[in-house]
């Protein structure tokens, strides 16, 4: 049995001009431009739901999670279907990115600690930085990103804003 945590293979993807990566063990599938069914009256970062292998899963917009500006969905996007673990329960969600770039295998010493960045991006969700040639890729902690707690905080924020 391979321990998935040891796998240092990452799926890299692009949101706006930023590079991100997520461990492949979390990725179930990447869907190209699948139609998302809108759900009324939910927070901005839930774009809707899709039918994934017979189950209905919510689709999140990752950009708002990082603090990047929201945008209307055009034709060019991918849905990365992730299996996340929070509070010992697994759930499947979709996350929207502009496009996926590559699958990369990296060594431990390629990963750098997160520097104190002066960016708009929410640093809490990033576990490390990979330097690959000239690019810097931010490694995401998706469990944390979509943990229920995080979601709750977010929905509170949304409702406060609305008020």
């Amino acid at each position: 049995m391979v321990n998935f945590n040891e796998i240092k293979t990452y799926l890299s993807f692009i949101i706006d001009n930023e590079y991100f990566a997520v461990n492949v063990s979390k990725v179930l599938e990447v869907l190209q431009s699948q139609k998302i069914t809108r759900v009324p009256n939910v927070s901005n970062d839930i774009k809707g739901v899709i039918n994934f292998r017979g189950e209905i899963i919510p689709v999140f917009e990752m950009r708002t999670r990082f603090g990047l500006p929201d945008r209307a969905l055009d034709d060019k996007y991918v849905i990365i279907v992730l299996e996340i673990t929070s509070k010992n329960t697994k759930s499947v969600i979709g996350a929207i990115a502009n496009r996926v770039k590559d699958v990369i295998t990296i060594e431990n010493n390629d990963i750098m600690a997160v520097p104190k960045m002066n960016t708009k991006i929410n640093v809490d969700l990033i576990t490390g930085i990979i330097k690959l040639k000239d690019d810097f890729i931010m490694m995401l902690d998706v469990d944390k990103m979509f943990s229920e707690q995080e979601l709750e905080v977010l929905s509170q924020m949304v409702s406060e804003k609305q008020q």
């Binding site: 139609k35 069914t37 809108r38 759900v39 009324p40 009256n41 939910v42 839930i46 739901v49 899709i50 039918n51 017979g54 189950e55 209905i56 899963i57 919510p58 759930s91 969600i93 229920e148 979601l151 929905s155």
Partner: protein, 679 residues
Amino acid sequence: MDEMTFMQFRDRFINEARQLLVNLENSLLELEHQPNNKEMIENVFRVMHTLKGISGMYGFDIIGDFTHNFESIYQLVRDDKTVLTNEIFNLTFQSVDHINNLLNDPGLENEENKNIHLALNEQVKNTIRNLGIQKEPEKKEKKNTDPTDKCKSLKTWYIQIQVIKQFDLRSINIVNLFFDLTQIGKYHVVKGEPDAVTLNNDGDLWRIFLATDANIEEIEDIFLFILDECKIIKLADEDLLSGNILLSNSDNPVSLLNENTILELIENQKISSQNKTKQQQMKVEVAENNKKLINSRISVHAEKLDTLMFLVSELVTTKSELQLSLKSQNIAKIAKVAEKIDKLSKQFRDNALDIRLVPISDLIIRFKRLVRDLSQSLDKKIDFVIEGGDTELDKSIIDSISEPLMHIIRNCIDHGIETPEMRIKSHKPETGIIKFTSYQEGSSIIIAVEDDGKGIDANVVMQKAIEKGFISSDAKLSEKEIYNLIFLPGLSTAESLTQVSGRGVGMDIVKKKLAELGAQIDISSDIGVGTKFTIKLHQTIAILDTLLFRSDDMHLLIPLSDVEECNLINKNTLEAHKATGTVPYNYKLIPYIDIYKLYNLKTPDTERLKLIILNKQDSRFAIAADVIIGEHQAVLKSIGKQLKKQDNISAASIMGDGNLAFLLDLNSLQKINYETQTF
């Protein structure tokens, strides 16, 4: 064998134990009616015995000890040395509940459980003392009887157990194994040194000589959980232990059985035992796979499985048919196969739903017990009559309907049925009747609970509701509406609070729970004659016949059974009534729910909209749509916890083109309407 596997074993035990307890309860209830039913007494005894046996195996010693005492009582009953008294019954019922608790709390960590445990233990001991049992451990008894009876057929076995650390982990209690051994025969244990020749593992090695008439399977049963670490070899077809050979020198029987002889024997049996262990390993693997499904099991009628098998074989043939026709590229042929697959998939669906159906009688045992306990503690005499226990419902519905039904029956016992004195006064038979009926009506299942008690006084309910400010004092309500007030939270007509009910919680939960299942509840009552609760629910919730319609870009579903009529309506008419939130229908105004506004949808440019008239429990309301698409057999899927806050949408369904449609929750939609109406 790691922690996980052990937990699975344990879960399985707990599951098994619970089933045994249900079985026990059933027999007890039966026994109470006919205390001399030998078969039932035997059954009670057997269940307790099994429970005792298996609980020790998994480290639930506390249950083992506890049941042991009970076993003694029932042994006396079985042997006609005593009769079953009410005291024993009550004690046993309490104990059944207690054992149920112990399964969750074997360490007695809960203070309350601990107290109960001590109290019950004391009671049991007292009972035994009163019955005059000299505590005679049955160990001895068996030892005395068994071997003497069947001395001639005794065989001698050599059993070798390699003790490994994992025993500890699996909570296998070797001492209990030895206890089980005493049940089948006589044994002698030699604790040996680690044996590097036969086994590579370090650790203690136990050698056991066993004289028994049991066959290899029975012996293997005892060592079932450590078979991999065991060697069982037949030494002789006679009893070497009590016979002249070993008895003469019973202090050290090994000296007689030469070490080499044993090794030789082991060598001889190696080939056959190797084959065996392989088989056993396979068995274990299969068993382990089964254990993964333990959390909820249902027993399925063999006939339904036969149908499944038939369908699978059909599918296989159809598949090869499809392959052939694809090769021929003959569209007509392919279409024919496609049609067949369509038919098959429908049959598969029906079969799958059918398999999930379980008879409602699985639930009834709990109710029987409730009626018995409650009526006794309230000093009422009640007969619980059951009709249609074989009506089948989906497993998930059975699970979630139990609680509301308990509430209803509790209410019947507490508020419905009068005390025997009162009943005699009002010229009724002393014993009240609670009747539980279930039957199928079309695609729905009806469950009715009926009592012949004092009934609900509509006036009292009205007064209470006015007192508590639920309705204004000049409100005019139909009888049905008045009875429905009972389901409001905080309204209870019981004059005194009892332990059972009367706190005003309960009926509102009943209503809520049933609504979650999409079930309807009705009450009818006559003062002095009785009350009847009728619940109407779908047999399965997974698939629902719905009406599919589209408003703007949203596809929505409503249960077809709630649709009364589809109509056309002018936009102008809608606009004219907008302020009141109503639409005209059959010369009356009925509430209109604007889903365009609710979901921020664009109203179409057309002059007319489709109007759907809905009828939910005799109250009508309407919603509008762009296009009515038609009937849709909806396979309902949960929309997930992340979207839970959507309370108007209860589920989603995948349409043929892969898009999703949402099922509207009419109950909560109706509520919205009431809220908007108020301002």
